[in-house]
Each structure stands twice: as C-alpha cells, then as structure tokens.
C-alpha cells in the first residue's frame, strides 16, 4: 500500500505540468515526426537501485512461494477448470474495462464490453463460460493506467513492485483506481471481504501461471533480466497509448547508433542513457 501512495504522490508531482500543457493544446499531431534516436531514451528509471533491490527480493519470493503456488495450482486443477476460473476473474473485471473504454472515448468498445458482461454473467453462468466471444464479442483489455496514458499522462519513473511486477508511477496509480473499481463491483454482488481476498489470491496465482513460460525464458536467456522485463513492459504499455503511425515514426534508426555517453562508474545507476 505504501508503494501505491508513493506512486500517487509522485505521479501528481511528476505529471501535472506536462499533462496540463498537452491538455491545453490538443490540436492535430505535429507535422514533423518526433524521432527518438535511442529507444532506451524512453526508459526513465531514476530509482533503479531501489527497483533492483525489490526485483531481487521478489525473485526470492517467487522461487520460494509464488512460482510453486502457481505450479501447484496447475497440477491441482485440469485446464478446463482453470479456464473457467480465468473467465470468472475476467468477467469480474469487465465493468472496469467498459468504464475505462468510455473514459477513453471508445464508445463501441465500451458497449461491446458491457454486452459481454451481461451475456457472460447470465448465459455464461456467472462468467464461467465466455459465450460472448464466439458470437462476435471478443475480449479486449483496458485499465485506468491506460486511460491516464491516453489522456496524455506520461508514465513517470519506472517501478518494480514485488508480487505485482513491472509498473510505473502512472500505471501504479491506475492500479489503485482499478482496485477500488473491483471492490465496488464485488460489493454490489455482496461478496464479503474473505472472498475478495480469495479472489485476489487466485487472480495472482493464475496470472503468475500464465506468465510462467515468458518469465522462465527471460531468466534463462537475458543477460540482464531486470532490464529486459523493464524494456518489454514499457514498450508494451506504450504501444497501447499511441497510434501505429506515431509508433512507427518514433522507432530508432537501425543505422545510426545513439551518441556514446559516459558509462556508469559502477553499481547500478540509471538505464536511461
């Protein structure tokens, strides 16, 4: 919880200036494409030292508890049951998706999401079966961090949060709002606190299981797993917030490497050079 508060405070401080500026002048996209010569310029990790500490702490936690729990869950339940559980969890999150679609001005997507919720909650028996997908209402994803990004809020400093994984100030703040939204919708369903905790635990275990092959692959192949996960997270989130033309314009050149800057004197400094 403390992380989240730090995130909120920092977000307010770090983001308000640029956001206000962007909000004041929406207008058309600038004519000249912004070319970011060095993709790692998009990596802003001023708290890298602390983040790396949390990363290794999480690694120990993961080996001792999180991964064994995920693999135990996999052994205990057959795939169709796990799929049903995942569907129920996604269905609980669906109102939040619809709300965020709306906040992003995506009315069609929002109504699709709302329709999915109604159909899957009833015909799909409390969300166990995703009956909406085969009838042309595929699942999509939206969260409040994404909404903030589409409103022009920059990601702010990168954060690694134990158990939750890679994040940044904006997405960390978004996660709290998503959390409250989930509590509210479960409250409407008269779900008591112990059950809410249970739902969160199952959600975490199932999410960890879904990422297992990716995480193991990164741990096995990356020379710096921390930097690799950070890079992948930031690129993935960024891709949700800009259109394909902007994305293409901002790619690094393959032929002109960024200017050499002084390497670190030692230890872990920032990765943003």
């Amino acid at each position: 919880m403390r992380w989240v508060l730090i995130g909120l405070a920092g977000l307010t401080a770090a983001a308000c200036g640029p956001v206000a500026a962007q909000a004041a002048a929406p207008g058309p996209a600038p004519a000249a494409p912004v070319v970011v010569a060095d993709p790692s310029a998009a990596v802003y990790d001023p708290w890298e030292r602390a983040n790396r500490g949390l990363y290794s702490f999480n690694d120990g936690l993961d080996r001792a508890i999180l991964r064994p729990a995920a693999l135990g869950y996999k052994r205990a339940l057959p795939r169709p049951v796990r799929t049903g559980v995942r569907n129920v969890l996604n269905n609980i999150a669906e109102p939040n998706v619809a709300m965020n679609d709306l906040l992003q001005g995506r009315v069609v997507l929002s109504s699709q999401s709302a329709a999915r919720f109604v159909i899957n909650s009833t015909v799909g028996i409390a969300g166990i079966f995703d009956v909406a997908r085969p009838i042309g209402l595929p699942a999509h994803y939206a969260d409040f961090g994404q909404t903030l990004g589409r409103w022009g809020v920059p990601p702010g400093p990168y954060l690694f949060v134990p158990v939750f994984g890679p994040s940044d100030l904006r997405d960390g703040a978004g996660r709290i709002v998503d959390g409250f939204a989930s509590i509210l919708s479960l409250h409407d369903l008269h779900v008591t606190t112990p059950y809410r905790v249970g739902i969160s635990v199952v959600d975490g275990v199932d999410s960890r299981l879904a990422l297992d092959s990716t995480i193991e692959q990164i741990k096995h192949t990356a020379t710096d797993p921390y930097a690799t996960e950070r890079s992948a997270y930031l690129q993935n989130r960024r891709s949700m917030m800009i259109n394909s033309k902007q994305a293409v314009d901002q790619l690094p050149s393959f032929d002109a490497p960024p200017a050499a800057s002084a390497p670190r004197s030692g230890g872990h400094r920032s990765g943003s050079n």
Partner: protein, 218 residues
C-alpha cells in the same frame, strides 16, 4: 499482467524457422512516390512469401537435429539482416567497440540468438499468418503488419515485421509482438549489462560465451 503472452514466442519462432529452405530474396522495388506513412507492396510481399515458407516448414517434422541447425543458420543469413542487427543491439557501444571485439561479439551473438530461437522451434501448433498492411518510415524501412491465428491461440495476435531494403532485397531486422520489439529489447538488455560493467563490452561477450557453452552442453 497481460503483457508478453506466448505470442512473443511464436513471432520469434516464425522468424526463426521461416526459411529453412534457402531462397533468393524478393526483388526490392521502391515506387518513386513511396514516402513515410504509405504502404509498401514490395515489403508486404516479401513478408508474406517468407512467412508462408516458414509455416510450411514448421509443419513438417525432421529427425536430424544437426542438419536442422545448419539449415536454420542458412535461413537466418537469407532472411534476416544479421550484420545490421548485430550492430544495432550494441546501441551506443557499437561506436566504441574495437574491431577484434566486434568480430568476437558477432560470432557469439549469432550462436546465442540461434540457440534462443531454436529452443522454440517445437512450439508451433499450426498457426497461420496473414499480411494485413504496412507503414513505411521511408521507402527502404517498412513495418509490415500481420495477423497470426489458429493453432493454440484463443484470439488472433498482431505481429509486425520491420524490414529494410538494401542491395536489391528486403531483410528482416526486428519483430514486434504485443507492442514489444525483440531487437530493441535485446539492445536494452545488452546496453544495461555493459553499463553495469562500467562500459566494458568484454563482460557482455564473456557472459554470452558462458551462456552458449551452457546451452550447447544441455
């Protein structure tokens, strides 16, 4: 936690296993009016043809691991611009690396990358790929958009291919899945490793050598 699905694997896989058959690259044709933002038919055709070849080969099963590996290396040389990628993944350190170190790095990076992709060859389950469009950064630098579907995928996955034209043919330099570019991620991984070694490229080279030795022993 939805980032990085299994699809990352499939993209790399498609690139990797793509052309176990060696083929002449598609002739490069840049229309005079091609400009930033426009589609590029030549690049789209190149990706479509190479992907189709990849999927055909992936669906066949061979027993001989050593010959698969040889064919795989030949394919990489054919379809991917290995020298350009090798230079790119060093980021700012590509400027300062010495020629002998450059050769050493190129050799070990090639082994390392091949091992990574080869380990994924058996993860293909009948997915198919369709070219959906392209966006040109310039007439010789194009992002081709594709949709991978079928197999074990619940929903189609968008995969983008960055292709660069030079010397009469297109070559793949990067692949994007779920918004994540493989070569860019690789660059940030390597540059961070070198940064943390105080700028010493040899530390990265030695680490990659250990990794390759371990993989080859396994």
């Amino acid at each position: 936690m939805r980032f990085l699905s299994q699809s990352l694997v499939i993209a790399a896989l498609a690139l990797a296993a793509g052309g176990v058959l060696a083929v002449a690259p598609t002739p490069f044709t840049a229309p005079a009016m091609a400009q930033s933002g426009a589609r590029n038919a030549g690049a789209e055709q190149f990706v479509g043809i190479q992907a189709q070849r990849a999927l055909t080969i992936l669906s066949q099963h061979r027993g001989d691991v050593a010959s698969e590996k040889r064919l795989f290396h030949a394919f990489i040389d054919q379809v991917a611009d290995v020298p350009r990628i090798t230079y790119f993944v060093l980021g700012k350190y590509s400027r300062s690396i010495s020629p002998p170190q450059q050769r050493e790095f190129a050799s070990v990076f090639r082994e390392y990358a091949s091992n990574v992709y080869e380990s994924r060859l058996n993860e293909y389950h009948g997915e198919t790929l369709k070219v959906t469009g392209s966006v040109a950064r310039s007439p010789t630098d194009v992002i081709v958009q594709t949709l991978v579907s079928g197999g074990k995928l619940d929903q189609p996955v968008a995969v983008s291919w960055r292709v660069i034209a030079e010397g009469g043919g297109w070559r793949v330099v990067d692949v994007q899945v779920d918004g994540v570019w493989l070569a860019i991620t690789q660059q940030q991984d390597f540059v961070s490793t070198i940064d943390n070694a105080g700028g010493n490229v040899q530390v990265l080279i030695d680490q990659l050598k250990r990794q390759v030795a371990k993989d080859d022993a396994a």
